[in-house]
Amino acid sequence: MPKDTIIITAESQDGNYWRDLWRERELLAFLAWRDLLVRYKQTFVGIAWTVLKPLAVILVYTFVFGVLAQLPSHGVPYTLIVLTGLLPWQLFSTVMLVSSDSLLSNAHLVQKVYFPRIIIPVSSIVVCIVDHLVSFLIIFLMLAWFGVAPGWQFLLLPFVTFLAVCCALGLGLIAAALNVRYRDVRQLLPILLQIGVFVCPVGYATSLVSERWQWLYALNPVVGIIDAFRWCVLGKTELIFPPSILVSIVFAVVSLAVGVRVFRRAEPSFADAM
């Protein structure tokens, strides 16, 4: 039987990180499964919450942005504008929040057992993705309610989900690594995300921003995510700024690459810093 050899030094203690990661893929699945079980066991109404919470927010935003502020919607029911902004935003923000907090909430594991730590943030976001998929129920309900038939673009939604997850996970990995050392991140992030709701086109369409500023506006990667999502569901190009999607794709690749790098560099000190 060929035996594994591990060499531990100050510089590297992981033998072969990516090989270990592959070996521990079951652990990744188990941790994700745990989070899912716990999430749906603890709450009485379970899955219903996943639908009810965004529904409530959608109603409030529709009232504020659509009814009170009377923002333009190019003939689309305003509820659908909010819906197609809120769902991708929720995915993005929860992935980022959950992954950035995942190391601290699993501190007992980090301090007692070795495995590639990146498993923790990656497994933690599975819950967010499942929640997102469940909230698709709302989309079907609302489209039926308003009698809107989605076009062929609707089939591209999985890619948008993937794009949003990549962007958020990259940032989440950086935040997670920082969070171990600087607990302030835990306080700061929710505030930033709160502001993000208004900076990003969650409650309004990107087309609201004047054309002169749209390029600048599109540098925010969430704009591309929301635009892509809106287009997939509503199929209206006049609501969005298409080049923003390109920005998001580039951002996803860069943020993931940087995120993994930062995370890997900080990784050896996690157990000591907790």
Binding site: D4, T5, I7, T9, V38, R181, P268
Partner: protein
């Protein structure tokens, strides 16, 4: 024999911040430092860089330094040392939970480390779910867990509650289940940090047996324990760490004895023996509750000739004499009790008189005769306490370890039962039981 673990010049430096813990610093603190650096030395609130560096240096310490040793495949090595000697840090580095600061470790084989039982147990999940989760965390594959599932459940004895969330478990059931998952790991190298003492007596016996079974299947084991008895039972070799350095590394017998010597020396600065104790004495802890009815006057140990001495012959009886005063009436009377310990404080036996002593005010003396061969050769400690066993037990005073004496065997030839054998006859007692040809 092939090599399983090689450790070379291993060192681990911890930096401790102001709170005394290597906790995370806050962003504000870092920004304050960065800002201080920007505005230079002008601000008195921010120490200059060189001062700051010196302050940081003061707060650093080597938890481990210059550690080198080798473990061959199949060897069972115990790691011993006082609290803070670096045992846990060493295990953490070997299990890759934390990185070393310097040096190198080479490990050949699949490692499983048990730094605690039940890592990752979630209170909301059922016993069944937690077995799978904990197993996966400890490095078992799903198939492996499925295969061993019945054994694990059977071993834990919680079959009935296996689908109940573990938050409803008693703490005993919880640790039993947690230990059981660990007990079925099958790595090449097992790293264990004192996780055996869980559950009730019966379960402890069972788990110790399982642990022995595990360690005897040709597995390499690295094991931390504070129990020298367990150590001697389970390990062949021992690594003795002292202040982060290797003090000795050899057979378990030699190393544990050396460790025990050092422990005694630390407890006792000055001569070890004490034949007489008269309070107050800074070296003896005398516990006496506020509502105590009695005061200890003196305790002494003497040989058959009534000479106070700390050296006794095992072939002769000896006496312990104590006097105390009762300061007020105790209706239930009082019971003096003598506690005998080995030199590490492990209890050897307790002796109580048949009759209780009167509870009227006054000064009393009691004597206890310890027969010959009741104690074997070695160092012992004795404590004297006075209690009242009524509806509630009350200790009027307790002078733990107040006497320290040594039993010797003056003349080996005197003991006819040796039949000329001159080697050691270990154990705490050498009772002379009846033997006859049957």
């Amino acid at each position: 024999m092939s090599l399983a673990i090689r450790v070379e010049n291993l060192g681990k430096l911890y930096a401790i911040n102001r709170d005394g813990a290597p906790a995370a610093s806050s962003l504000r603190e870092q920004m304050a430092r960065g800002f201080g650096r920007l505005i230079g030395q002008g601000s008195p609130a921010v120490p200059r860089p060189d001062e700051r560096a010196a302050a940081v240096r003061d707060k650093e310490y080597w938890a481990l330094r210059d550690i080198s040793f080798e473990v061959n495949t199949g060897e069972r090595v115990g790691v011993i040392g006082a609290n803070g000697a670096g045992k846990s840090t060493l295990l953490k580095i070997l299990s890759r939970v934390t990185a070393p600061t310097e040096g190198r470790v080479e490990i050949h084989g699949k490692v499983a480390s048990l730094l605690e039982v039940g890592t990752g147990f979630h209170p909301e999940l059922s016993g069944r779910e937690n077995i799978f989760l904990n197993g996966a965390i400890l490095g078992m594959s799903r198939q492996e867990i499925r295969k061993k599932f019945d054994q694990i459940v059977d071993f834990s004895g919680v079959e009935k509650f296996i689908d109940t969330p573990v938050k409803h478990y008693s703490s005993g059931m919880y640790v039993r289940l947690a230990f059981s998952v660990s007990a079925w790991l099958e790595p090449d190298i097992l790293i264990v940090d004192e996780v055996l003492a869980v559950g009730d007596q019966a379960f402890q016996t069972k788990s110790a047996a399982r642990m022995r079974e595990l360690t005897q299947e040709g597995r390499t084991v690295l094991f931390v324990s504070h129990s020298m008895a367990t150590m001697n039972q389970m390990c062949q070799k021992a690594l003795y760490l002292e202040n982060g350095r290797v003090s000795s590394f050899g057979t378990v017998e030699e190393t544990t004895i050396e460790y025990q010597r050092d422990v005694i020396e630390q407890i006792e600065q000055g001569p070890w023996h004490r034949a007489e104790f008269t309070p107050p004495d800074a070296k003896v802890t005398l516990t006496r509750p506020e509502d105590s009815a009695a005061t200890l006057l003196s305790v002494r140990i003497c040989d058959r000739q009534q000479r106070t001495t700390e050296f006794l012959d095992i072939a002769e009886s000896f006496e312990i004499e104590a006097s105390y005063s009762l300061d007020r009436q105790v209706p239930d009377g009082v019971v003096p009790n003598l506690h005998f310990y080995d030199e590490l404080g492990g209890r050897v036996f307790i002796s109580l008189p048949a009759e209780r002593m009167p509870g009227t005010k006054g000064v009393y003396s009691v004597r206890c005769t310890i027969p010959a061969f009741a104690l074997n050769v070695g160092r012992y400690m004795a404590g004297f306490a006075l209690s009242t066993f009524g509806t509630e037990t009350q200790n009027h005073f307790d002078a733990q370890f107040c006497l320290r004496f040594e039993m010797k065997e003056a003349d080996l030839a005197l003991d006819l039962r040796r039949h000329g054998y001159t080697g050691a006859l270990p154990g705490f007692a050498r009772p002379r039981f009846d033997w006859r040809p049957a």
